[in-house]
């Protein structure tokens, strides 16, 4: 049924690790990540669409994605592929831009794909290089939640 997923924050390293199992062969998952028309089908939160999706899949190749939110606001992103090891590993640098084209946050994303019994385990490690508080408000229409040990604390803060 639903794909298993787990996420962990490692604040010290400013790393986000997400693991997900997809009920699909690795080759197909790889295609979904490396063919622009396929990536445009799933990129971004629910309710968003992706009018621009350009991927130059080779080391040093550019990524250009524009995401459009349910409110019509556009969220551009640029990036560069660092490493491509088909079909197991993808490393890319990415930067989300504000309305003036200035980076809100920049990070390196490492995505690994492994296949067992026709299912693909995807692990994504996003390492933040630079971020601004404004980035937190970047994705409009997305509910703000809190995680892990900060949960109770922040509930209090939300009320305060």
């Amino acid at each position: 049924m639903a794909a298993r997923s787990s996420a962990a924050m490692q604040p010290a390293e400013r790393e986000l690790v997400i693991t997900r199992v997809f009920d699909a062969p690795r080759e197909l998952v790889w295609k979904a990540w490396t063919e622009p028309e396929r990536m445009a089908r799933w990129w971004g939160p629910r309710g968003f669409n992706t009018p621009v999706c350009e991927l130059d899949v080779r080391p040093g190749g550019a990524i250009r994605i524009v995401m459009r939110g349910p409110d019509g606001a556009e969220h551009p992103m640029t990036g560069v592929f660092r490493e491509i090891v088909k079909p197991e590993r993808l490393v890319f640098f990415s930067a989300a831009l504000d309305e003036e084209g200035k980076p809100l946050f920049e990070g390196t994303n490492t995505v690994t794909f492994s296949e067992q019994g026709g299912k693909t385990t995807l692990t994504m490690v996003a390492r933040v290089i630079k971020s601004t508080p404004k980035a937190a408000r970047n994705l409009d229409g997305m509910e703000i939640g809190w995680t892990q040990s900060l949960e109770r604390l922040t509930e209090y803060l939300a009320r305060a």
Binding site: A7, I18, W43
Partner: protein, 121 residues
Amino acid sequence: MAADLSNTFAALADPTRRAILARLALGETTVTELAEPFAMSGPAISKHLKVLERAGLIARGREAQWRPCRLKAGPLKDAAGWLEQYRRFWEESFDRLDEYLRELQSKEKPQPKEKKNGRKK
């Protein structure tokens, strides 16, 4: 200019410091009171408090002996909010990827129900 979140993240990396923040979320208190549940010396707690203070996560009163500690929410909200947003971005994208992959497979080749493959690791 936007503040760098590095200090916030570094300060939050330590479980004792997160516990201190959780305690302070209940209200202002003294160093002595803070130290109690941690089985830690006053100076050890003071070290943690300095890190939290430098990160702008807490403020401390001036009174020499008493120096009450108080939580400052701003940087914490920025840090937790940002990471949480980013996590959600990927989680939701992956939900959609999951649906897309299912859709593709039901179109391209009607697959037999998953065959049990013993565990291989």
